[in-house]
């Protein structure tokens, strides 16, 4: 088969100039067979199983990157929610599991391991409660462990007790990691309608219905889409914009599909899904906000932003669905504020408020992601922000998440640097009013009616 010079140069340009990469290859490992009445033995099994299954992951990913010439940026592990494994031990503090996961991540040379998790969208088991209570300690004492808690779903409603508890955990985690700007909260997320095959941290875990081990892939490529739209120019109509995004998403997702299949084959496991999300990084040009601005809003957050984002998310999904029959995970566009230079500039310019961001999450793939608020923000305000976001997910049958960082000692408008992939954030103003009575009521917001949808 021959390719035209144009095709070959397009691929090389994407890799060399437009930062096309495979964002993550994530090996999901079931830890259900590690449950043990003895806490120490359970942790021992967890460590042994993760290392046993994961030790070749980095080598395989690097060899694929070399063969195909496409960088694979992150290699990660997702495990069964630890609350399910810890339950048999009856322990009140499950943080030894976090230390076991952290040690395993160190041993196999990966940066993050997801799955210090619990599903509490309807209620808490003893182990769920023990896990949630131990999160601040677990995140303070580890480098690689990520924690996700499911607090709402369309089927069960919103567990406001869990939301309240979670916001207290966020505050405590920020306090304990204050010297790093509350960095612990960057590894902590809550979900409505969590997906069990999500390859992206902090929400990665191996949920209900997943096989023993599965290799999932998350692709990226905002830079590729951005350059294609820049070439398309401002005269083309929106159908042409959607078509351009779709074509680029197809090409990006195909790379993910190829890498995923090949990695699974080389590891001797099953290939799970390609998550076709546009995931920005702090690198120049690798920005979802800049795509929205190329579609035609002056600054991200200006009127028109939500509609432009809806077009973008949908076109990405359509291109991805054509490229792979195994599309899964979150699949859409991520808008993590601190990790996207365009988003940071929009916040700095005063164009992007927390309220607009929330509206955008109704049409993007995840939710309020990497949002910094002042360190003295009340628990009720954080719970209210989370509840609003969970309501959007619950009512619209979609995944939403909140990863919020109350940065200790910082006021609205100040800057905080986390460095690396986590980037820089401008602390945003959550407004002057709270919701203390709503917060105090607790209980559960019942599941929404499934028909009469308007």
């Amino acid at each position: 088969m021959s390719f035209t010079d144009r095709e070959i140069l397009e691929t090389i340009r994407m890799v060399e100039l437009e930062t096309l990469d495979v964002r993550t290859t994530t090996l999901a490992i079931s830890l259900l067979d590690c449950a043990d009445p003895d806490l120490e033995s359970a942790c021992e099994k967890v460590y042994a199983k993760v290392v046993h299954h994961g030790k070749n992951l980095v080598r395989v990913a690097n060899s694929i990157a070399a063969d195909y010439g496409v960088p694979i940026v992150n290699k990660r592990i997702a495990v069964t929610p630890i609350a399910w494994i810890g339950a048999a031990s009856g322990a009140e503090d499950l943080s030894p599991f976090a230390r076991a996961l952290d040690a395993a991540a160190d041993e196999i040379g990966i940066d993050f391991i997801g799955g210090y998790s619990a599903y509490v969208d309807k209620g808490f088991t003893r182990a769920d409660r023990a896990l949630v209570d131990s999160i601040p300690q677990a995140l303070e004492g580890t480098k690689h462990v990520c924690s996700s808690i499911v607090v709402a779903s369309t089927k069960a409603g919103i567990n406001m007790d869990a939301v309240a508890r979670f916001s207290a955990v966020v505050k405590e985690t920020a306090r304990r990691t204050a010297k790093d700007g509350g960095l612990g909260c960057a590894k902590l997320v809550c979900f409505a309608n969590a997906v069990s095959d999500n390859p992206f941290v902090a929400g990665a875990h191996s949920g209900v219905g997943e096989a023993e081990t599965v290799l999932n892939v998350g692709v990226s490529g905002p830079g590729v889409v951005r350059s294609a739209l820049a070439r398309l120019g401002p005269e083309a109509d929106l159908l042409a914009v959607a078509e351009t995004v779709k074509r680029m998403a197809f090409k990006i997702s195909r790379v993910g599909e190829l890498v995923g299949r090949e990695a699974a084959r080389r590891l001797g496991t099953t290939f799970g899904i390609v998550d076709v999300s546009l995931a920005p990084t702090p690198a120049e040009g690798d920005s979802v906000a800049e795509i929205l601005e190329l579609i035609g809003v002056d600054k991200t957050g200006a009127p028109g932003t939500t509609a432009a984002l809806a077009l973008l998310t949908d076109a990405v999904k359509k291109g991805g669905a054509m490229a792979s029959s195994s599309v899964g995970g979150l699949s859409g566009a991520f808008i993590p504020v601190s990790e996207d230079m365009g988003m940071i500039r929009a916040v700095e310019a005063g164009a992007l408020s927390l309220a607009k961001l929330e509206a955008m999450t109704a049409v993007c793939s995840v939710g309020l992601d990497m949002v910094a608020v002042p360190g003295d923000t009340g628990e009720d305000v954080i719970a209210g922000i989370i509840a609003d976001e969970m309501a959007i997910g619950m009512v619209n049958h979609k995944t939403t998440a909140v990863r919020i960082i109350p940065v200790p000692g910082k006021k609205a408008g100040e800057k905080v640097e986390w460095g690396g992939l986590l980037g820089t954030a401008i602390v945003q103003d959550p407004g002057a009013f709270g919701c203390s009575v709503f917060h105090r009521r607790a209980g559960r917001i019942p599941a929404p009616l499934q028909s009469y949808r308007n």
């Binding site: 021959s2 390719f3 010079d5 070959i8 021992e44 023993e212 081990t213 190829l258 699974a264 029959s325």
Partner: protein, 167 residues
């Protein structure tokens, strides 16, 4: 189902000088240490225990038996091991010859070549068919030819272009 794990606790509870486990059992590092400390041998039916290959589960067992996974875009079995070589650099006599000589050394056969020279700089694209399993050595050898003052070579597996540009 065979025993999945042997933990340090299991070793401490054991009586006698050896523990019999299945070949697929994962013996945790702590259990191995405890066994050494107490002079206990960990054995399987076939002799001493060795770390088994990871058990990836029943789905993974089925995967290789399914007919060639999923169809490749525009399947062409001859191209199982093909490479696209691109080179750019300062033009000089013999540069194409140098590159193709290196390709020949690795038993590669050039299926397609295009070269252009613009203002003293050349860029070149070659599609090369390689013998089975020859990709890695080929890539290293060609990419090592380049140097910053002369030209740079990039070798990519042909599949990535097929996946990206063919339905």
């Amino acid at each position: 189902m065979p025993r999945r794990f042997l933990t340090a606790e299991d070793v401490l509870r054991a009586s006698g000088g050896e523990i019999l486990v299945d070949e697929s059992t994962v013996v945790t590092p702590q259990a191995q240490e405890a066994a050494v400390a107490r002079g206990i041998a960990i054995k399987t039916g076939r002799g001493s225990w060795k770390e088994p290959p990871p058990d990836r589960g029943p789905d993974a067992e089925l995967a290789p038996r399914r007919p060639p996974n999923l169809p490749e875009p525009s399947d062409d079995p001859r191209l199982e091991s093909a490479a696209i070589v691109t080179a750019v650099g300062r033009n000089r006599p013999g540069v194409l010859a140098a590159i193709t000589a290196k390709i020949a050394e690795h038993h590669g056969s050039v299926n397609d070549v295009s070269q252009k020279v613009v203002e003293g700089y050349f860029h070149m694209i070659l599609t090369v068919e390689l013998p089975q399993g020859g990709f890695e050595g080929f890539k290293t050898a060609l990419e090592c030819m380049g140097n910053p003052d002369d030209f740079a070579v990039r070798v990519m597996n042909e599949r990535i272009f097929r996946y990206m540009h063919r339905v």
